[in-house]
Structure formats: structure tokens, C-alpha cells
């Protein structure tokens, strides 16, 4: 199986006045379909920059990035939005749910931007919620009535609903207690077992251990790739 994520010599330089910050200095790696990869590094290492590039929220200064066979590094603003909608599923540290909206409405949100036909929305949302492991009794609740673990499951369901090529999880257990975090990580392992491709960004080795493989990043360079047990 060919790589889902194919990154070559990715560089990102921020210019602010006279100072140039080289956040990424030439990063290359691949992620195969069905892989669960951890991207690990301390703060300031460039991992947030890499996540933004992988998540199509930003464009690189140079280098190439192919996602699901699509050359995405040079897309325009609207095309990037479309690509985010169809190729990426985000899971954030702070869940980023619409607090006053119901669970169902949160999960359906990405489908309004990808213009999924209305009759397909409910079955797809239900399937995603089931895959994320959220009890059906919570579907009609407003998201601010849920616990942290439940909120993160809603966020995972939202990430799954457009059937993306890549799930990008940014410190998904950062706001959760250890036990709940373990459950969430188990959920990611289950999703990997169902064939999903996941890149998880973290600074904790305990979290990275759940992945098949860990990519280390420091000072804008990927300095080691090690296969985890």
C-alpha cells in the first residue's frame, strides 16, 4: 500500500520584520494507509507548524506535500478549504465543539461544508458516533452538558464523518485525566484497526507509545524515526 502522506523537504519560514524564523528546515517522511503515527517534540520544535501544514491550514515555504495522492502544497485558499473538508479530520486538545449545539449538530457540521446530501447526513453521523464510542443516549444532549471524555468522542466522530484520508489529532488527551486519556487513545487504536490513518501530535512519550511509530522533531528537523513496540 502506497503512502497516504508523502512529505519531501518541507520548509516553513516565518518573516517578522527583519527576523526570519525557520520553523521547519526540511522535513521528509511518509505515512502509510492504516498507520497510527505519533509526531513528538517539545514546544518550539516545529511540531505545531508541521501539524498546520499537514492539516492544510497553512502552506509551506518550500517542499512538497501529497495527501491521499493529491498534490496539496500549492492549493489556493478555497481549494485548501475543500481539501480540509474531504481529506482531513481534526481532533483538538480543547475539543473545539460548538458549546450550545447538540452532539448531533456538532458531528454534522463538516457535512454542511462538504455539501453532503441531507438524507445521508444522519446515517453517517450515527456511524461516526458509534465508531467514536459515544452512547446513543447522549446524541441529543448539548455538548456543554458532556464530560471531557465524551466531548472528545464527539470531536472524534466529527473528524470521522467525512471519511477523511487522514485523522490529525493535536494533543487529544492534553485536557483529559489519565484514565479518560487512555480510553481516547484506545479509541484511536480501534480506528487504526478499522483501517484509519492517524497522525497524533504530542509531547508525552506515554501518549506516543500507543502509536505504531513515532516521528521525533526538534528545532525544525526530523532527527530520528523509531519503530515502537
Amino acid at each position: 500500500m502506497g503512502p497516504i502522506v508523502h512529505v519531501r523537504d518541507l520548509m516553513k519560514t516565518y518573516v517578522s520584520g527583519d527576523t526570519e524564523t525557520h520553523a521547519l528546515r526540511g522535513v521528509s517522511f511518509e505515512v502509510r494507509k492504516g498507520e497510527f503515527v505519533a509526531l513528538m517534540g517539545p514546544s518550539g520544535s516545529g511540531k505545531s507548524t508541521l501539524m498546520n501544514l499537514l492539516g492544510l491550514l497553512d502552506t509551506p515555504t518550500s517542499g512538497s506535500y501529497q495527501l491521499g495522492g493529491v498534490d496539496v502544497h500549492s492549493l489556493g485558499d478555497d481549494a485548501l478549504a475543500d481539501a480540509r473538508s474531504s481529506l482531513i479530520g481534526f481532533v483538538f486538545q480543547s475539543f473545539n465543539l460548538l458549546k450550545r449545539a447538540t452532539v448531533m449538530r456538532n458531528v454534522m457540521l463538516p457535512m454542511i461544508y462538504s455539501e453532503v446530501p441531507e438524507r445521508e447526513r444522519l446515517p453517517r453521523a450515527l456511524a461516526a458516533l458509534e465508531a467514536a464510542g459515544l452512547e446513543p443516549s447522549l446524541h441529543a444532549k448539548r455538548s456543554n452538558q458532556l464530560s471531557g471524555g465524551q466531548m472528545q468522542r464527539v470531536a472524534i466522530a466529527r473528524a470521522l464523518v467525512n471519511d477523511p484520508a487522514l485523522i490529525l489529532a493535536d494533543e487529544p488527551t492534553g485536557n483529559l485525566d489519565t484514565a479518560t486519556g487512555e480510553f481516547i487513545l484506545k479509541t484511536f487504536e480501534n480506528l487504526r484497526d478499522q483501517g484509519r490513518t492517524i497522525v497524533l501530535i504530542t509531547h508525552e512519550a506515554d501518549v506516543a507509545r500507543h502509536a505504531d511509530r513515532t516521528l521525533h522533531i526538534r528545532d525544525g528537523l526530523m532527527y530520528e524515526e523509531s519503530d515502537a513496540a
Partner: protein, 404 residues
Amino acid sequence: MRVRDLVSETVVSLTANKGRSALTILGIVVGIAAVIVMVALGQGTQTSITSTIESIGSNLVMVTPGAPSRGMMSAGATDDGELTLGDARAIAALDGVVAVAPQASSSAVVSGLNDATMASITGTSEAYPKIRNVKVGQGLWFTRSHDSAASKVAVLGADTSDTLFGAGSNPVGQRIRIDGVSFTVLGVTDAAASGGMNGADVGVYVPLSTLQRYLSGQDTLSLIHVEAQSQEVMDKVSASIDQALLARHAIADSADADFSIVTQKDLLSTVSTVTTLMTVFLGAVAGISLLVGGIGIMNMMLTTVTERIQEIGLRRAVGAKRRDISSQFLSEAVALTVLGGIIGLALGWGVSAVVTALSTLTAEVSWETALLAVAVSTGIGILFGYYPARSAARLDAIEALRYQ
């Protein structure tokens, strides 16, 4: 993003914060209602003045002594020009003239069975009721022979009759005294049938020759009423009256005329100009409150954008384009102002109805005003929602996601 989804997102966003949405649209509600009521009052006033003017007759041309610059205000003033019965007869002979009623006025103490009062005495001809749209309720109007014989007969205005003889009584055949001269009452006007607005319900009407002989002692006229054949010939009639009187008064230049000619049409157009100006002015003053309401919407939308930065970041992350974001915020602003406009329209309509019912003012809400209100409130939503919506769309997705 589909329109249906946009509408659905808008409804959910606005109902999520009902209290604030309600307070925000209050400004628009009050603004639109104020504009509606003011414009309705202006239009109602216009309608009521117009119908007053129309009730004084049809195709009416009025000739008064005095130079045109002094216009209607100089009616009755004879210092720089005089009209005589001869002038009235000359006008009656002109083409397109259906009827002429000369008029001279004075005022005198009138006493009846019940009471005495100071009343205006109008001396005129038998043609007056037809030309001025005055209906006689009880009895009759005087005839041409009463006029030629200078008979001491009088027709009373309905209100004046009530004063002199008591409400509901029939004074026909009774006697009244005008400045000590005894007159027989021939008839009483019917104010309601005359349109109720032409002033025919007050005063005393006597034959012109009677007034001149017994009461005023002068043979000049204060006014000549002329009824033209039709609306179309009014200007022509007006011009030929001008020529005829200039010739009779031996004046070479129309600019030196010692009389004025005013047509009903002139009056209507003057009134229309004034009341339209008043309507625009009232509407504009009320419009200021609408502007303030619009600024309130913008203020609230800007606050909303700041509060929802993270939501904007999330929406962008899950695939919203910049224009999806701006559409959503613009749609929320427009939804608020349109809703405010509709409620304001209902409120304004209600206030107009109450004002009309409880006061002498007439407030008329026209369909045009209603449509305009909705259009204006939509416009305000777009105008004042545009800047916040653009600010929302311009946010950087990454920074918005990180925003705490």
C-alpha cells in the same frame, strides 16, 4: 455551503442567545416603527388636506382682489385692486366656464331665538351651493329672484343654526337679526352631506345684493368662485379669466395684475409639495433612530465575532471557506434586522391605528411604506453586517483555533 444550511446555522446561532438577539433588534424595531408612524402621519395629513381641498368643489378657480404675490392671504383686501359684479359677469361669459358665484363677506352679530353670536356673513349667488359643493339639509337655498330683489332671507350654517336656535330644532321660516336687520331663515346647510370639511357648517349666507345693500354698504367682491367645465380646461379658463380681467381693469401687463387667480389644482400641488416635504422630514428624523439601531447591530455583531473566534477557526478547519464564514455572519445580521423590521412594521402599524383612533390626526400606513420598511431593514443588515462579517472571514484559521 447550501442556502438551506446557511439558514439553519443562522437560526441556531441566533436562538442560542435569544436574550441578546432580542435586545439587539429592539433598536431596529423602534427605528422602523418610528419611521412608519412618522411617514404614516405625513401621508395621513396629506390625504386629509387633499380631501378638504377637493371637498370645496370641483374644477374650481378662485379669483381674489389684490396682486398675485399676496395670493390667498389677501382675500378680502381691496386696497390695491377691486373685483366687481361686472367682473363676475364677464367671467361667466367666458368659454369653458360652467358657473360663477361672486362673493362678498362681512361679519356681524346674529341673533336667533336661543342665542346671539358673532358670525361671518357671506353674500353670494344662487350658484354657490353647486360650485362649492354645499348641500342644504333643511329648507332651500335662495334663488336668483331673491338676489335681484335684495330679499332679506338667509341660509344658516348647521353649527350656527344650532347656536342660534338650539341643536335639533328646525329654524326654517323663523326670523333672525343680523346687525339689527330682520331676516327670514330659508334653509340650513347639511355639513355631513357637504363633505364636512369645506366650512359650510358655520356662518350665515345671504343674497349678494342683500349683503351689499343692508349690511356692508359696499359693492366690491372679496372672491369670485368659478367652476370650469373640466379638469383639462382649467388652465385655459384661468388664462382667459386673466385676459378678460386685465382688459376690464385696463392693465397692460399681466405682471401688474390687481387680482389673483388660484385654481384648485394649484392648491393641491402646493399642499402636496408641503406635505411631501413634511413627510420626508419626519421620516428622516425617525431615520436617525434607525441608523442608531443599525450601529447597535454592528456593535453586537463585532462582539459576536470576537466571542466566536474559536468557532470560526473550527469551521474553517472542518472545511468552511472564507465566504462561508462571511455569509454566515452577514446572514445573522440580516436575519436580525429583517426580523426587527417586521416587528417594527407591526408596531408602527399598531401605533398608527391607535393614533388615528384616539386623536384628530390621521396616520395611514401604505403598502409602499411597509415594503420600504422591510427593504430598508434588509439594507441596514447588509450595511452594518458587512464589516463584522468581513472581519470574521479575514481571521487567520490557525490563530482563530488557538484563540482562548
